[in-house]
Symmetry: C2
Subunit: 222 residues, 2 copies
DNA sequence: ATCTGTGAAAGCATTCACAGCC
DNA sequence: GGCTGTGAATGCTTTCACAGAT
């Protein structure tokens, strides 16, 4: 096992994709695979697959390839998906409601992510139920985070309230934020932020449609 | 004006962010700005801002900075957001419905993106209305695309149907796809694909929470 | 004096070629 | 023979330093 000192951001995104492919292979009853097959499915080069894996250790057998089960387990461990992550949603507007009802928090039979709380600042929203969880006022965030050991939060408030929400979350010790608001959040160094902004995706699409010759450079994934 | 032969993918993502910041500045009545200010807001370096802009031309005045209005217009032109983009949604499940109802297709008083059709394969869904648009059967996709000059499509079908949807869209001449299904689509060279996958974002978050020392490398935006 | 625009340098990620092991 | 693992080379993106404009 290697000490991974510095790992390309893009590698993490690809590991998530490899894990998805391996999970599907496992479902199909496939036992062994290869960097070639994974590369084809993920639409990257086989070099890339092997290099990505090499950051974390040696998981294959030369001449033979990889065991699907083993590699799937290893990736799950590396990505931290062998334990449960407790989540809350801040902002119970249309998007927050859609997320609360989202049926996909389990993945491959594992409840990896679990909703532990729903929050809003609007008293009219407090008390409403989604997916069996009652909406609480944002003032009760700290209690919830401490009680349940909340790891990450989704910010689904209007854009002008997003930084406030982030500040509140950081203050009570949430370690990761998935930000759906179209703004760049400022948070302290030790808090991770991932952006989800499908309007930005549409705008990039518009550019690439206008400039087709630029398209084939690279893939970013989100 | 320069001939942009090869432009980093990441630059496009950042231009979208600069445009957002400029739009806000304009709303606030600010007339002039600088690479420093834009850099601070977007959380990148001022070098980066100037280099990104330099791919497309010279928009500032040395010693003075940029005129907000001018730069906003230029970015809008570069990104293709000075014209309307006609869109359809394929897959009217929960997510497709949420998108059809999404109130944000206008941005800064401009209807840049307009929904021209909603499609599903399920006869029960056909005929339902969302936001004043009637759901049609996927077989009627071609007519709609030809009639309205549809530019891009959102794929919100279950993951195992996503490639079929993409094939159908490519076949009738759609130029760009925003894919919400967690799979890597295979499409012909000249079709642009952008991925939106918030579960993948959650998984990356989990990794970065587990490995805080790796966090500060780079930002991907989606 | 100030702040943009840009060639050159540095820093990273990807690709390659092949050594190492089944 | 076949396929992984990995140092070295390539190529791209970011950073830097400063020339150029007002």
């Amino acid at each position: 096992m290697k000490p991974p000192l510095s790992i390309p951001n893009a590698t993490i995104s690809r590991l998530v994709i490899y894990l998805r492919i391996l999970t599907n292979l496992e479902k199909n009853g496939t036992n062994r695979t290869s960097s070639d097959l994974l590369a084809e499915e993920a639409q990257v080069s086989a070099f890339q697959v092997r290099k990505d894996l090499a950051y974390f250790g040696r998981f294959g057998t030369r001449g033979m390839g990889y065991t699907v089960l083993t590699l799937r387990r290893e990736l799950q461990r590396i990505l931290g998906l062998n334990r449960r992550w407790n989540c809350v949603i801040v902002g119970m507007g249309r998007l927050g409601q859609a997320l609360a009802d989202y049926p996909g928090y389990m993945e491959s039979n594992l409840y990896e992510f679990e909703l532990k709380g729903l929050f809003d600042i609007d008293p009219h929203k407090v008390g409403m139920q989604f997916h069996g969880i009652t909406v609480q006022h944002i003032n009760d965030l700290e209690t919830c985070v401490r009680t349940h050991g909340v790891d990450m939060a989704f910010i689904t408030v209007p854009v002008d309230k997003a930084q406030d929400a982030a500040d509140a979350l950081v203050k009570v010790g949430v370690r990761g934020i998935l930000n759906f608001a179209p703004t760049v959040l400022e948070v302290s160094e030790e808090v991770a932020v991932e952006q989800v902004d499908f309007m930005a995706g549409m705008k990039r699409l518009a550019f690439y449609i206008l400039n087709p010759h630029l398209k084939a450079l690279k893939e970013d994934e989100e």
